[in-house]
């Protein structure tokens, strides 16, 4: 009995390690790990592919920006941090986890109003949201999530926040906003332009002009503990190059200079 179990365990362990070896292990030195906000997943995968063809390999770890910042704070190994939120970058900077002088405000985004694709409500500006036909507006939690914070600030400057507040349904994040608009459980929602672009079940009815809108910033920086700062710098230069910028533009991002 005892022997039987032991053999079984050994066999299973062998099997497990055999299966684990399926996972591609690339041991080359020119490989960096970029911690990035989940909303940047697609564009960074594309950029990673382009960068890889000429240079090094980019690995991504994706999650909410506050998780990523927390992990880097505790000494997790990413070489770079690409946040959707200034607050998280500030948190790491004040705690001296960033390589001095490498922080850059790279991207911006645009707020848009989306409605279900087959909606026949006439909404052409934020003021139209005041109409009684518009009963519910989905928005990522305006108390915590960047897109919600940005939107509430914008609506406040337009003098609409107080009047629209009772219609706002706070949801988890941008994805949840999109899902509730797609399913027509709400009449409208506020999301980023780049998020609206990935759904064909919603249509953009209004783009908040960049000049009147809130300043949405995606900062990037190299982590101080990184052992591959040169490669990280090289990747940063690629992001800032015309080729890198073109890819960001293709996905609907706005480049900050």
């Amino acid at each position: 009995m005892k022997i039987g179990r032991g053999t079984k365990t050994a066999t299973s362990l062998l099997l497990a390690s055999a299966l684990l070896s399926f996972v591609p292990v690339v041991a080359c030195a020119d490989e960096i790990l970029v911690a990035a906000a989940a909303s940047l997943a697609d564009v960074l995968k594309d950029i990673g592919k382009n960068y890889q063809s000429t240079h090094n390999k980019i690995l991504l770890t994706l999650g909410p920006s506050n998780f990523l910042a927390r992990q880097i704070f505790e000494g997790a190994p990413p070489d770079m941090f690409f946040s959707a939120d200034l607050a998280q970058m500030d948190f790491l900077e004040t705690n001296r986890r960033l390589e001095p002088g490498t922080r850059k405000n790279l991207l911006s985004n645009q707020l848009v109003i989306v409605v279900p694709a087959y909606s026949n409500l006439a909404i052409a500006s934020p003021k139209d949201l005041l109409k009684p036909d518009v009963k519910k507006i989905a928005l990522a939690d305006p108390a915590a999530v960047p897109v919600g914070v940005y939107t509430s600030r914008y609506l406040a400057t337009e003098g609409l926040w107080g009047k629209l507040k009772s219609k706002i349904v706070p949801v988890l994040d941008v994805r949840a906003t999109l899902a509730s608009v797609e399913s027509a459980n709400v009449e409208a929602g506020f999301v980023y332009k780049t998020d609206a672009a990935i759904s064909n079940k919603v249509k953009v009815v209004y783009e908040v002009p960049l000049d009147n809108g809130p300043k949405i910033i995606y900062p990037i920086a190299i982590v101080r503990d990184s052992k591959k700062k040169d490669t990280a710098r090289d990747f940063m230069n690629f992001l800032l190059s015309p080729a890198g910028k073109a890819i960001f533009k293709k996905f609907g991002f706005v480049i900050l200079d």
Partner: protein, 224 residues
């Protein structure tokens, strides 16, 4: 349905690490469950409660505690890092997160199955001169065998569904630490519903199979 290479890779990785985590916790879980079921010792109820905590605590907070312990700046993480072992952001992190989160389920099920083994049989074995170790391996373990396998299957299923602790301790690196649950999260975040539903289907299928089999074993164990 034909799955993409990525889908296979994610599924096999999840199964492999889930399996490895169950194998790692099995001896500890069985030993602890036996101590819970058969022995009285000081602060037993406190230890029992601590072991159960990951079952009821938000997984993200368990993940944060693990990150604090195993991070490069954590007490254990720093010690391991000096010796060239890094837990955070690789498959070892996934393994630890899965192990910690599924351990309570294993201990609970195995404990119950030990408690159901008749004390009289153990006492008879003792009067026949069997040593405690021999009694455990010849009487208790074979009688509780089905409950242990059922517990292991349940723990394994829990490991497969792990999300909160894994994303904090191991990150979410496609091809490296991305499990089924993490990949579903990514696909949902990037609006790839079709891919998310494929993985969801695989998850439901696996979870159903293992939980069903585990329940079946428990019923069969009761009859025996």
């Amino acid at each position: 349905m034909i799955f993409s290479l990525e889908t296979w890779q994610i599924t096999i990785f999840s199964l492999a690490v889930g399996m490895a985590s169950t194998i790692v916790i099995l001896p500890f879980g069985v030993a602890l469950a036996w101590l819970f079921a058969r022995k009285e010792w000081p602060f037993k109820s406190v230890v029992e409660t601590i072991v159960l905590l990951p079952l009821v605590m938000p997984p993200v907070s368990t993940g944060l505690i693990l990150l604090k312990i195993f991070g490069r700046r954590g007490p254990l993480g720093a010690w391991l890092y000096e010796r060239g072992v890094e837990i955070v952001f690789n498959w070892k992190g996934v393994l630890i997160a899965m192990s910690v989160m599924s351990f309570p389920l294993l201990v609970r099920s195995v404990r119950t199955s030990f408690a159901e083994v008749s004390l009289r049989l153990e006492q008879i074995a003792a009067t026949l001169g069997a040593s405690p170790l021999k009694i455990f391996f010849v009487v208790t373990l074979p009688l509780a065998y089905k409950g242990i396998v059922a517990g292991a299957l349940l723990a394994f299923s829990r490991a497969l569904g792990e999300f909160g602790a894994t994303i904090l301790l191991a990150g979410n690196i496609p091809g490296r630490t991305q499990t089924l649950s993490l990949a579903i999260f990514n696909f949902v975040q990037t609006g790839k519903d079709a891919e998310a539903f494929t993985l969801l289907g695989i998850t439901v299928f696996l979870a159903f199979t293992f939980v069903w089999f585990s329940e079946w074993l428990l019923r069969a164990g009761k009859k025996a």
